[in-house]
């Protein structure tokens, strides 16, 4: 592994402010680390020229006393789902292999304007469909963590697998992710990082390659809760170009982090949902969850047992809603306006051949499921039914948040698993998201915070969920939890 120091955004901002390091030096260090760790396959496209240019511009701004904020000069990875002007954007798909956007997504543009330095476009599951980063057309991503005493290659989780590999592998200070059913939180849990999904609508979806529009939400992946707050504040905000964007001020999450950082959870009401106990859940995960309860209680939180009765229906609901929306969104890849074209004798044949060659197996499977559940005669039985159950799931949370401020659960039902496991059965893979999907369906903000290591020395995350637009509460609780957990392990420590 890299001997690269694991910088946090906060530490980098501090060192840059004191003149102890320049953005160009930080950027060059990280470029070197990327070059030395290509075995991770964390990036689909490296953008080192762009990075050096932005680093120099950041240093020039700083020399003039014109610093854009704590992200200014900080090298980050950009999930390859955000359209970036002049830098290839593939969504990890053959169908977009040569797509070079002529415009910048709102979120990546905000991060650029905040002065951050884009090192490259991070690998992911194709169109963000997956939980192990094994469906990328550009190859799977290797988890920088290895189990104690074994030499197995583990998956980094997904779909934001390249983003978490880059940060936990020490080759980027932080990264963007997108989360449709758990794609930020589950990989963060698999790699000992903080991953945060904002309230639906906080971060603009404009310019983000669409998967399931009613669920897709961008968010930060970082080493610490404080870093996640800094980056979230830079990414979020109203955007008239996204009709589902929330027109309200971005909350002061850094102040919320400061409030919880000393281990203060006084007055915080924490709900423990009994439906999140699964048969056959690894003992280490139950143990960490119990430990999380004790930590919060010891810091002054009030613990309450709560019930979210429709939890078991969240995953099947998701696997109707998400493929339905995906089948509609991905209809645009027709070989006409951009992307791959495979010639055919007729227009229909051209469409069919293009899409058969351009999309991988999992994407094709989901498009077909979505096409089926939306087709004439089945729409009410599947799609409308799923949207009704979704209302019930959201109502469960609404009623729980009358009594508590946050809900505490495990992030994922397992630690990172070996490449090759769970690959034969799509449903076994889908179960990875059993704890993350309910908050996605309800549009709620949620965060995975590293809690500890399992018996194999692999990281496990705890998930906090708060009510709609209650990001400040979420960050305060997460900062307290992070303080209590005192998680300092890094990938490569054990090997």
């Amino acid at each position: 592994m890299s001997t690269q120091k694991h910088w946090t955004i906060a530490a980098a901002a501090d060192a840059l402010a004191k003149g102890e390091v320049s953005s160009r030096e930080l950027t060059d260090q990280h470029i070197k680390a990327i070059e030395d760790n290509r075995i991770l396959n964390a990036f689909i496209t490296e953008s080192f020229d762009v990075a050096r240019e932005r680093a120099d511009a950041s240093d020039a701004r700083r020399a003039k006393g014109d610093v854009a904020g704590p992200m200014d000069g900080v090298p980050i990875a950009m999930k390859d789902l955000f359209c970036t002007e002049g830098v290839r954007t593939t969504a990890a798909s053959h169908i977009l292999e040569n797509f070079v956007p002529r415009y910048e997504s709102t979120v990546s543009g905000k991060l650029r304007d905040a002065g951050s330095v884009m090192l490259g476009k991070a690998n992911l599951d194709e169109f963000a469909m997956g939980s192990a980063n094994i469906t990328s057309y550009f190859g799977s991503v290797k988890n920088p963590w290895t189990p104690k005493g074994a030499n197995a290659d583990l998956v980094p989780g997904g779909s934001s697998g390249g983003s978490v590999a880059a940060v936990s592998g020490g080759v980027a200070i932080a990264a963007t992710g997108t989360d449709t059913g758990g794609s930020i939180r589950q990989p963060a849990s698999f790699t000992g990082l903080v991953g945060m999904k904002p309230t639906y609508g906080r971060c603009s979806r404009w310019g983000v390659v669409a998967f399931a529009s009613s669920l897709d939400q961008a968010g930060p992946i970082a080493h610490t809760v404080e870093d996640a707050a800094i980056m979230f504040e830079a990414m979020a905000g109203y955007d008239p170009k996204d009709s589902t964007s929330l027109d309200m001020p971005v909350p002061d999450c850094r102040a919320a982090v400061a409030a919880g950082a000393g281990g203060d959870a006084k007055g915080l009401r924490v709900g423990i949902p009994k439906e999140y106990t699964l048969d056959g859940m690894p003992a280490d995960i139950q143990k960490l969850w119990d430990q999380g309860v004790t930590w919060l209680k010891d810091m002054g939180a009030e613990i309450k047992d709560v019930s979210l009765p429709h939890t078991k229906y969240a995953l099947p609901t998701y696997y109707i809603v998400a493929p339905a929306e995906a089948s509609s969104n991905l209809a645009r890849y027709d070989g006409v306006r951009y992307g791959l074209r495979v010639p055919g004798g007729s227009l229909d044949e051209m469409y069919e051949l293009t899409r058969a060659e351009g999309f991988g197996d999992e994407v094709q499977r989901r498009i077909m499921i979505g096409t089926y559940v939306l087709s004439a005669g089945y729409y009410d039985a599947y799609y409308v039914k799923a949207q009704q159950v979704r209302t019930l799931i959201a109502n469960d949370f609404k009623s729980v948040f009358n009594d508590v401020d946050v809900v505490l659960t495990p992030t994922a039902p397992s630690a990172a698993f070996a490449k090759g496991e769970k690959m034969d059965d799509p449903i076994a893979m889908y179960l990875n998201d059993v704890f993350t999907v309910p908050a996605s369906l309800a549009g709620l903000p949620a965060m995975s915070v590293p809690g500890g290591l399992d018996a194999n020395g692999l990281p496990l995350g705890l998930q906090l969920i708060s009510g709609v637009c209650q990001e400040e509460t979420l960050f305060r609780a997460a900062a307290a939890l992070e303080h209590a957990a005192g998680f300092t392990a890094k990938a490569g420590d054990a090997s």
Binding site: T199, L340, R355, Q388, T391
Partner: protein, 95 residues
């Protein structure tokens, strides 16, 4: 409801994805596995429950009906697989 090869052929055409004849049967099995699993939702009582249309209650924003974008022909055609002048080019559609 169980999907057979004919159903899969029809779905694949609706989705405009070419599926080889030999793949129809295994694909029917894969799709049936998933469809069978999601059908557990039928046991949920949803009488009188409104389908969720938006995760957060917001009023759909309106904007003035004015032109605020345009004149981007070269940007729009920049990634086109084939073009003729300022147009996308496709195989002959009308015989």
């Amino acid at each position: 409801m169980s999907l057979n090869e004919d159903d899969v052929r029809k779905i694949a055409f609706l989705a405009r994805i070419r599926v080889d004849e030999a793949r129809l049967a295994p694909l029917a099995d894969e799709l049936n596995n998933i469809v069978g699993w999601v059908e557990q939702l039928s046991e949920v009582d949803t009488n009188g429950i409104a389908p969720m249309t938006s995760a957060v209650d917001i009023v759909t924003p309106l904007r003035k009906d004015v032109v605020n974008d345009g004149d981007k022909v070269e940007d729009i055609l920049a990634n086109a697989p084939d073009r003729e002048g300022p147009f996308f080019a496709v195989p002959k559609v009308v015989e």
